[in-house]
Each structure stands twice: as C-alpha cells, then as structure tokens.
C-alpha cells in the first residue's frame, strides 16, 4: 500500500512541477516539461551532428573539390554513392564528377565517406528534413542538389572547418614548395599561382 502511495506521490510531484518549473528542454535538471515543440522550437544543433553528406565547392559552383576519384563510392558501406567522371569535349577525362548521385534511401549517415575522402570534398550535413513525396525521385540526390559552399560548411561546423582549412593551407604550401623545388631543378617556368584546386 505504502509503495503505491509513494509512487503516486512521485507522479503528483511531477504533475505539479510541470506547472511550476520553467520549461528548459536542454537542461540537465530533473522535472518540469522536457519536450520540445518541434517545428517551432528546436534544440541547439550539435556541431558534430552528422546526417546526409554534401559536396563542397570553393567560392563558385564550378569549383568542385571532388576529383571523382571514386574512393568514397568504394568505401561506402551500403554503396549508395555513384560517380561518373566528367570528360571534356574531346573525351579526355576531367578531374570532376559528371554524375554524383547519393541515394538517401540507402545512405545510413555513417560518415565513412567523409573520413575516407582524401580531398576534403564531401562532408556530413546538418540538414535532416528532406522528406519527399516519392522514394526514387526525390531522395536520390544528384550532383547539383548536393553541392554546397564552404561557407555553409563553415557555418555548421566552425571547428572542423578551421582545422581542415589549416591543414589544407599547409598541404598547399608544402606542395607549392615541392613544386617550386622541382621546377627550380628542371627549368624555370612562369609559376602558376598556388590554388587549393587540384
């Protein structure tokens, strides 16, 4: 009898507390209303939150970092990435994807593509509201749907962005230096400005 009464006391306490305590959905305290009224209210986004991947471009949309090396497509555990390399008018392969499809019905947000990419071209997004009316058409994202600017990346994950930019800059300098030495050893040529684009 006493146990039942004690339990009822606890539920009553929670009932009353829901009127008294302020609503703090993100707090670590016990009691009060803890739910979030989703579309209007949202919890703060965690920086490391990962959802579906996106492709990064520098500055303009033409400047895609992806060189269509196919590593992510090979490493992707559920094999949801499909890449076809672009060719120029003469049929010579170019270092950019012509087709870059990700099937979000298959993708399981594991983030291995991001980890495997040697060119920092693909990252996990925070966007999760991508519902669509039918499976095949609206959830297979093509190259142009996937492209997002570095500014977006910087906005959602500032820490990672800073670290990656740092490293990229260093790599580019190293590369430039190496190139410079190679070129100096060979024959002097008008040097091209070092760009982060391969």
């Amino acid at each position: 009898m006493l146990g039942v009464l004690r339990g009822m006391g606890i539920t009553l306490k929670n009932f009353l507390a829901s009127y008294v305590l302020p609503r703090r959905p993100d707090s670590l305290e016990t009691g009060g209303i803890v739910t979030v009224q989703y579309p209007e209210e949202r919890l703060p986004e965690k920086e490391n939150f990962r959802n579906f991947p996106f492709l990064v471009f520098d500055g303009t949309v033409d400047n895609i970092r992806c060189v269509s090396c196919d590593i992510c497509a090979k490493e992707c555990p559920p094999k949801c990435i499909y890449i076809v390399r672009d060719t120029d008018s003469e049929g010579k392969p170019l270092k950019r994807p012509k087709v870059f499809d990700i099937d979000f019905t298959v993708c399981m947000n594991c983030g291995i593509c991001e980890e495997a990419c040697p060119f920092d071209a693909i990252f996990m997004d925070h966007e999760f509201e991508i519902g669509g009316p039918e499976r095949q058409k609206s959830l297979v994202y093509h190259r142009d749907d996937l492209l997002k600017s570095t500014a977006h990346f910087q906005k959602i994950r500032p820490t990672d962005f800073a670290a990656i930019e740092e490293r990229r800059k260093k790599d580019a300098e190293k590369k430039a230096a190496a190139q410079a030495t190679v070129q100096a050893a060979a024959q002097p040529k008008p040097q091209t400005p070092p760009s982060p684009q391969p």
Partner: protein, 389 residues
C-alpha cells in the same frame, strides 16, 4: 459427415464438455509488447501457457554476410544496428575483436573514453529496459517517459561526440573517432552527478510498488544451473546468482583499474532482473566517476592506425582468427572473426546475447499466464536487431 446429436454430447466423458481445449495464440509478429517483430507461438489452457515457441527472423538481414563483403571498418556502422540501444558497446566489442586480430594497441585516453561511453550506454540500456518492462506490466508510459527523459541527456552527449544519437559509429580500430572536448566531459560529469537523484525517484516510483512486486516476484524463475547451462549472460544471469561479469572475468580494456561490485540476485525472477539492473546502474555510475576523475590527456587514436580511417580497404589484418567479447548491457556480446589476409573478413560471426538469452524463454513461461509471458520477455531484454542479425 453428419453432425453429432446433442444427447450424445451430454456425457461427462465427451470431449465437447470435458475438453479444456488448448487454445493457440500467436503473440506477434505485430503485437505491442514483443519489442519488435517477434512472434511467440503460445498454446494456452485457459490463460495458462502450456507451450511457447519463439519464432524469429522477421528482421533478419544476414548481417554476417554483409560484413563478410565489406571492409573491416565498413562493418562498424553496421554493428550500430545490431542492438540499436547500445551502439557504443557493440562498437566496443567489434573493435576489441579486430584489435585482437590485428594486434593493435589503444592509447590510454581512448581506453578511458571507451569505458565512459560503454558505461553510459549501459545506463541508457538499463533505464529504457526497465521503462519498457513497466510498459509491459501495464503502466501507461510514465516510467518509460521518465527513463527517456534521462536517456535523452546521455544521447545528447553521444550526439555531441559521435555525431549521432543512436547510430554512433564512434570507435575506430586503435582508438576512437573524436576526442572528448572539455565541455562534453563537464556535461558527462553533470549527468553522472545528477543520475543517482533520478534513480532514487525511479526506485521510489517502482521498487516498493506492491503491484509491481506481486506481478514480478516468483514469476519466470531462472535457476542458477539452467542459467549457466543455457549460456545466459548479463544482468539476467546475475539475477540468478551467476557471478560472471566479463568486466571482472576478462578485465578487458582497463576495467581492472576501477573499483566496482557485481550485484547478484538470489532467486532469479523478473523482480530480481529488474532490481539487478538498477543496482548495476549504480555500480556503473561508480565506474564513470572514477573514469572521469582519472582520465588522462593524450591522443585518442593509435597514430600507426590513424591513417587507416582514410583508406579502410587497405587494412588487411594478418591471417588468423579472434574472438572478442565484451559485457554489453544485454549480456556477453562476442565477435568471432576469421581473417584470410584480405581486406574483408572471411568469417564474421556475432554471438548475440539477445538470441542466446532467449533460449530459456519457454522454460520460464511454462505454467504462467499470458500476462507473465509478456513481462518475462520484457525482463529478458531482447532487441530484435541483434536477435535476428
């Protein structure tokens, strides 16, 4: 066939009147309390169970074959989906097996991070299992939602460190994916400090509740011998008094550094299983406190294998085999790996505690009522993702 004449049926020996007909019911695959798509083929006499056959495989996706066609790292996110409540401990078990296979060392800090995550997972699992058990008992969602309130706090931590709330995919061979930031450590500390208060509230709501007591006590008693013989592990075995906790037995990772005890039940009924879980949570909190106090600075990834993440296909463990097992919240989670020296495991086998703990379901349920079968199943604590792998 001519229908029987009524006069004949009025003899006392006639089956029409005598027969206490057994009555076959399929609990599941669509049933509110089979915890997923699981079926119990139950034969009843009145409401008493005379036979019970579990039928499973509705969620079978040949996890093992998927893993055999995948790079070693590629299976890591799939282990999340085994027992989707405890992705961290699944990752832990798999990482342990691969590390044993390829003989990889794990840096100190990463060990601590792993232990912290595994114990947080244990809290998440036990607290929600008790909630679900209470739901099976007929409490209208209140314990579940209280449990989820606390679980949410821990899942927020997981999201912050691993990027995902449930499918963490956080451990890597030779370390973990990302370091804990001081803010996260602080948050975990706060959670650990606040958790006993919640446990007290939870216990106040449940432990001494007479209805819960009479429903759970002396129901589904699992004797010691059967528990050992049937390979029951985890809290379920410990509720029957089997003193076998891999954290103490194998002392894998760095569990030998922490002071904690193993609660053991004496009878092995549903109530013991419930309370052992509560007590285990309190012990886990002790481990967490110690780990958070002692956690050293340093790298979280073995530098030799840090590059591995960049090219999982190049990771080729030497030929051989390894059996790695951890004390997952549900019991002994084992991974048996056979490597043929290529980038894909030749054989990948999961010893799923949910599956093996289910062996005794019929023994526990016989002679009890339908309502008891439901709570016995709830107290065994199965997750269909792992059961059906």
């Amino acid at each position: 066939m001519s229908p029987p004449v009524l006069e004949k049926t009025f003899q006392a020996s006639d089956p029409v009147l005598q027969d206490t007909e057994t009555f076959e019911v399929n609990l599941g695959p669509q049933h509110p309390s089979t915890h997923g798509v699981f079926r119990m083929n139950v034969k009843l006499e009145g409401e008493t169970i005379v036979s019970l056959k579990p039928v499973m495989g509705y969620l079978h996706r040949n996890h093992e074959q998927i893993a055999e066609n995948m790079s070693y790292l590629g299976s890591m996110p799939y282990t999340d989906r085994l027992d989707y409540f405890n992705s961290m401990s699944n990752n832990f078990g798999y990482a342990l097996a691969v590390e044993r296979l390829a003989k990889i060392d794990v840096p100190e800090r990463a060990q601590y991070v792993r232990v912290i995550m595994a114990e947080l997972t244990r809290l998440v699992n036990h607290v929600s299992v008790i909630g679900f058990l209470l739901n099976d008992l007929g409490a209208f969602f209140t314990p579940v939602l209280y449990a989820f309130r606390e679980r949410e706090k821990i899942l927020d931590v997981f999201e912050e460190v691993a990027g995902s709330r449930m499918m963490c995919n956080y451990l890597r061979f030779g370390g973990v994916k990302r370091d804990l930031t001081p803010a996260v450590t602080e948050r975990i500390k706060k959670i650990v400090r606040g958790f006993p208060k919640f446990l007290d509230e939870f216990e106040g709501l449940l432990t001494r509740n007479e209805i819960l007591c009479i429903r759970c006590q002396k129901v589904g008693v699992l004797p010691y011998d059967l528990a050992v013989n049937a390979g029951i592990t985890g809290p379920m075995a410990r509720a029957s008094g089997v003193n076998y906790d891999l954290r103490k037995v194998d002392r894998y990772s760095i569990y030998d550094r922490f002071k904690f005890k193993i609660p053991l039940g004496k009878i092995g009924d549903v109530y013991d299983r419930y309370l052992v879980r509560i007590l285990e949570m309190r012990e886990s909190l002790k481990i967490l406190e110690q780990a958070l106090k002692e956690i050293p600075a340093g790298p979280v990834m073995n530098p030799k294998f840090a590059a591995l993440a960049k090219a999982p296909r190049n990771f080729k463990p030497p030929k051989g085999e390894a059996y790695g097992r951890v004390e997952a919240p549900k019991g002994e989670l084992g991974f048996y790996l056979v490597s043929d020296g290529t980038a894909q495991p030749w054989r990948y086998h999961v010893r799923a505690p949910s599956l093996i703990n289910l062996t005794v379901l019929e023994d526990l349920c016989l002679g009890h009522k339908v309502a008891d079968a439901v709570i016995i199943l709830g107290s065994i604590d199965i997750v269909l993702g792992e059961l059906d792998h």
